[in-house]
Each structure stands twice: as C-alpha cells, then as structure tokens.
C-alpha cells in the first residue's frame, strides 16, 4: 500500500489538445479518492496515467515514494477494474483471478489460497469454474474486483466500474465496493461521472472540469462549501438553482432579483458579501433549501410564491419545478404538500444556505 502523488501532470494529444492541464493531487495511503466530472474532463486520462496506460506529457507521478513516469504498468504494482470489466473471455473465473499471480510465479498452492480467500470475500466461490460469458453483470464486476484484490497491490484503480450495471445493481455494488475497501484498505483512485457514487464512496472527492481540478475535499465539504460555480452545480441532485441577482443595501444587505424581489442576506454573512455591494452576482440555492412553508420559520428564511409548472413525486420527497424571475427552478418539498401544475405554492427559501457566485471569476464568494 502506498500514497500517490500527482505533480503538475499534463497530458497533450496530437494537435495540441490538452486533456489534463497541469494538475496537482496528493493521495494518502489507504485513502479512497474519487475523481468526478463530466465526460471529457480528463478524469479517465488521469487514472490511465497513474496506471501507466497513457504516457505523461509533462509532470511527475509518484507511487509509494518512486517516480513512475517511465515504469511500465506491470512494474507499478497496481490493479485496475475497467468499465467493461476486461475479463479474459477464454479463461475461467479462477484463471482470470490467478492470471497476475501466475505471471508473478507464485506457488500453485499459494495462488489457490489467495484466489479462494478473495472469492470468499466477494461471495463468488461457486463461480470459480465458470467462464465470464456465463456470469451476470454483477458477478463479472465481482470477478473483476477479485482479480484486483487477489494481488494485494499498492493501489486500486477503478475506471467507471458501475456504469454498465442497472440502477439497482449499481447501488448494491457501490455498497460492496465500500465494504471491500473497509476490509482491504488499499489506496484507491476511483473515476466516475456519477456524483452520487462519488459522494457515497469517497474519503475525498476530486471534481475535475476541462482538464483541471476544480476542487478537492470531503463529500460534505464539497456539498456545503463549493468553491466554484461548476462544483456548486455539479455536486447535488437535483442540481443547485442559479438566479441572477444584484447585491443591494436596502435597510440591510439584500440580494435583488431582476423583477425587484429582494431577499435579505443573513446577518452573519453581511461581512462576507459586503464588498460585493452593487455588483451583479449569481445566487445559488439548492432545491432542498427551497421548501414548503412551515408555521414558524427560522431566522434567515425568505418567503416566496411560486407558480407550479411541473410536479415530480419521488416517494420520499416531491420535486416542484417552477419559474423565478424567468429562470427555471426546482424545489424539493415534503411529499404531503398539496400542489398541482398552475397552482400557487408558497415556498420558504433558507438564505442561511445561500451561495453567491462572482460572475467574472465563477468563484463562490
């Protein structure tokens, strides 16, 4: 097991296309780090550079205290789980899992013991004689994980391993992966485009966009304190609502929508937002902070009437889509709240959880 250090790493392709633009990242020993971002953000390229499957254009990657830029994948002591599992179709499950050990000339009885142990952990003992074709998606995923675990590598790399599974199995396998990491706390780098996967699995989440790291932090930190508009919009489902506002001083600091509606900024944030007085900004507010009204509202809550456009009952909650100042907005309300399209729904906006984005830099202030 080892720490991984990515220092000023750049990846360019022919025609001067930069997939990764000089990123720095320190991954501690035993840590579970998830790289998340939209398609083409450079997260998979970063993972493949750690694996040695892509050459590094500039910068250095360190694994366990050694620079590995010129070390071939087989000598990096890493294991990788691929999106489509990449199981060897002509080998049995046992042979798939034992392949790396055989190549490293482990004794036969040792190979059997290690494969059996890994199979037991993943509950695939009964599948060892089967070929990958005879396995379901979830079973293949387990075998791919078994192939990685059995070698006890320094680092696990996961490249969107749950993308090919159906929604139910994805949730189940997500838990399995977390359980395996608790049992075998190997340093793990996990790539996904699914922010829920990132939030649920990671010790730290790395949000990437356009080849750069937007923010690194614990899941809750990213959720509560996003540093950029991109992170604010990417983390959280449904996504954060953004409304153009102007910071005004009207018997206290307020944000004013284009239609003239003013909402008071909570007193503890006045110092923070004071310097932006008079500036046009973007107000960010999550759907869960725009809810139905209650008899007694806590301080910092603003009331607003919304004309309901679409209602999406989810069971444990209901999503209400409406327009604020011409901008489509989503609110998350209690499932017992009665609302129908076209009706007016009074909403409570919790300004204690507001975010204010500076338009010029896209940074959350």
């Amino acid at each position: 097991m080892a720490n991984v250090s990515i220092r000023k790493v750049v990846k360019s392709y022919e025609g001067d296309v930069q997939a990764v633009k000089g990123i720095d990242l320190e991954i501690e020993d035993h840590e579970f780090v998830v790289l998340v971002g939209p398609s083409g953000c450079g997260k998979s390229t970063t993972l493949r550079m750690i694996a040695g499957l892509e050459e590094i254009t500039a910068g250095e990657i360190w694994i366990g205290g050694d620079v590995v830029n010129d070390v071939p994948p087989r000598d990096r002591d890493i294991a990788m789980v691929f999106q489509n599992y990449a199981l060897y179709p002509h080998m049995s499950v046992f042979d798939n899992m034992a392949f790396g050990l055989k190549l490293r000339k482990f004794p036969k009885d040792e190979i059997k013991r290690l494969v059996d142990d890994a199979a037991k952990m993943l509950d695939i003992q009964m599948l060892l004689d089967r070929k990958p074709k005879a396995l379901s998606g979830g079973q293949r995923q387990r075998v791919a994980m078994g192939r990685a675990i059995v070698r006890n590598p320094k680092v696990f790399l996961f490249d969107e391993p749950l993308s090919n599974l159906d929604a139910k199995l994805r949730v189940q396998m997500r838990t399995e992966i977390k359980k395996v990491h608790q049992l075998v706390p190997t340093t793990t780098v996990y790539v996904t485009h699914d922010q829920i996967e990132a939030m649920t699995l990671a010790d730290r989440v790395v949000v990437m966009n356009h080849g750069v790291i937007e923010q690194v932090g614990a899941p809750q930190e990213l959720y509560h304190n996003p540093q950029t508009r991109f992170v604010a919009g990417f983390i959280g489902s449904p996504a954060m609502n953004f409304l153009p506002v102007q910071v005004v001083d009207d018997s206290g600091l307020k944000v004013q929508l284009a239609d003239g509606t003013k909402m008071a900024i909570p007193p503890e944030r006045v110092d923070r937002y004071g310097p932006y007085k008079g500036k046009k900004m973007t107000l960010g507010i999550r759907p869960e902070h725009m809810t139905e009204t209650h008899e007694s509202e806590k301080p910092g809550v603003q009331l607003m009437n919304a004309k309901v456009d679409v209602v999406e009952p989810m069971g444990m909650e209901t999503l209400v889509h409406h327009f604020v100042d011409g901008v489509a907005v989503c609110s998350r309300v209690d499932p017992n709240t009665k609302c129908r399209p076209g009706e007016i729904l009074p909403l409570a906006i919790d300004m204690n959880n507001m975010h204010l984005v500076e338009d010029s830099s896209s940074r959350v202030v």
């Binding site: 087989r74 294991a79 179709p89 392949f99 070929k131 192939r147």
Partner: protein, 316 residues
C-alpha cells in the same frame, strides 16, 4: 412520412385482421421459412450441380475399372496404396500442404501484427499492396515465377551471378523444385492469412491487453495468453480452409514443374490429372483425387466442432 401519410403506432392491435386471401400456395409463401427456402433455392441448385453431383460421380467413377464398365469396389485405392510412385505423391502432397500452410500462417501472422501497428491511412496502402499476390490470377503469377526461376534468363540467377555466387537450378533438382513450389504457394496464400488475422486482431478488445499489462504480462506473454487464445477460432478455420485448398492445389505445380523432375513434385491434383486425363484412366484418376477426402473431412469435422463449442463458451 415521405408520402404524407401518417403512421399510427399500435394501430395493428385495434385493426381487424385482413380477410384470408388465396389458397395454399399464398399461405406457404407467407411463412418465413418457405420464403427463406425459395430465396436460397438458386444457390442450393448451384451447389447440387457443381459440388454434390460431381463429388458423388467422382466416388462412383473411382469404383469402376479402366474402361468404366465394371464395378471394382475399392480396387483402385488398393492398387494405388501398393504403388511406390503414389507413396511419393502422398509424401509430396503432405510436405507441400503442411509446410506451405504453416509458412503462410506464420508469415500472415507476422504481417498482420505489422499492419495492426501501422497507424493512420498508410495502413490501408500497405494492406492493399500486400494483398496484390492474392488478387492476381494464380496461373498468371505462377508464369512470372516460372520465368524468375528460369535457369538461363531468370532474374534470380542473374542476381546470384552478379553477386559472384553460383547459379541455382531452382526447378532442376527434386528438392529445389519442391522448395520452389512451396515458396510460390506461400507467396500467393500469405496475404489471405494476413487479412484474416488482421481482422481477428482488430476484434480483440484493447482493454484485454491493458488488463494483462497491469496484471504483469510482458509483450510476449500478452501474445501467448491473450492474442493467440482470442484468435484461436480464426486461426483454426483459416488453417483448415487453407489446408483443404492447398491439398487440392494444381496450378502452381502444373505450370512450374508439371510434376517433375522425376515426378518429385507431383501433388494429388497433378497426379490425378496425369493418371486420369493424360493416361486415360479416369477411374484411377478419380481415386487419386478422392484419396485425401476422408482425412480432410474428419479433420474438418473435429475442427469445426471445436470452433462451435468454443464460440458458445467464450463469445459474449
């Protein structure tokens, strides 16, 4: 829709079925299996005329006497097995077919790998160039080879003498001639192997190689443990097909050596031609040409069974 009409999805569920029209023939024509059979009928007729009938006729012929008046059973085969000259034909045919197929397979495999590693549009150009031997009519290209091998005017011997080396009678001694015909067959057939193996190589998912590289496999181990097993079916089918075709080869030997020198390059096909057509013993010629049939048919049965089983096991 283009004609302006509107398609109603699910309309067929509510529309009453059309009244039954016509008689038995129309009902039969509406069945998919009958339509499929009707479409295949011309091909089936061709196969019957050009393959099945001649095969059975050849089997029938091989059991007649020279004048084709009396049924003699397997006498022709027994006679051939007792003849040393025919033993030589068996040896030469096996040597020719096995050596040529192995060489074609190896050269095709190497060429396919080279092609696979050429990136960009130049791969298409090289692929086209390397396919040239296979697309030129064999009898024409063999004539060129014959000219190249010529002892007095050949390009090969001219080059050798220019280099100060002794001239080589390429078609003049038994072993030289055997090697020459094998070489020409290899030259002609290797592009076919190349194109088949290239297609097989392209179908191996790149991620298997990446997974193997991470698992610790060297380039050689990736070839042995990933490439070869993944290409196994194509290799088997190509070798089987080529073996059958090479055993039946006629043009090269007929044009280059005509079976000589001292009958040292005769194959089943050229020997069958010499016995059946040139010497006028058609039944015995037929038995020569049928000699390898049971061996190759058995081989084909086992190879194809293995390929089918493996397909069921491995294909995802």
């Amino acid at each position: 829709m283009a004609d302006g009409s509107t398609m109603v999805v699910g309309a067929s569920a509510t529309t009453p079925p059309a009244p039954r029209q016509g008689g038995t023939m129309k009902r039969l024509a509406r069945r998919r299996s009958m339509a499929a059979l009707a479409l295949c009928a011309p091909l089936i007729a061709l196969i019957i005329c050009l393959k099945i009938y001649p095969t059975f006729y050849a089997i029938f012929l091989s059991m007649l006497d020279r004048k084709m008046n009396h049924f003699v059973g397997l006498d022709n085969f027994a006679y051939l097995l007792g003849r040393p000259s025919f033993h030589l034909v068996i040896f030469q045919s096996c040597l020719f077919a096995v050596t040529a197929v192995v060489m074609k397979a190896i050269i095709g495999f190497i060429l396919a790998h080279l092609m696979h590693n050429i990136r960009g549009s130049s791969q298409r150009i090289w692929r086209g160039l390397l396919l040239v031997p296979w697309v030129i009519p064999l009898s024409l290209s063999t004539l060129t080879w014959w000219w190249l091998f010529d002892p007095s005017y050949s390009a090969f011997n001219w080059t050798l003498s220019w280099l100060g080396l002794p001239e080589v009678p390429f078609l003049g001694t038994v072993w030289n001639a055997r090697i020459s015909v094998i070489m020409v067959n290899t030259w002609f057939g290797a592009p076919f192997f190349m194109i088949m193996y290239l297609a097989a190589l392209k179908s191996v998912p790149e991620q298997l190689y990446e997974a193997a590289a991470i698992d610790g496999a060297s380039a050689w181990q990736r070839l042995i443990f990933i490439t070869l097993p993944m290409m196994r079916n194509i290799i088997l089918i190509t070798v089987l097909y080529s073996l059958i075709v090479t055993f039946a080869d006629f043009d090269i030997v007929r044009i280059l050596t005509n079976g000589g020198p001292q009958d040292g390059t005769h194959l089943f096909a050229t020997y069958a031609f010499a016995v059946g057509i040139q010497s006028g013993n058609i039944p015995r010629g037929a038995s020569v040409s049928l000699f390898m049939f049971p061996v190759l048919a058995t081989l084909a049965f086992f190879v194809l069974r293995d390929v089918l089983n493996r397909n069921k096991e491995v294909a995802t």
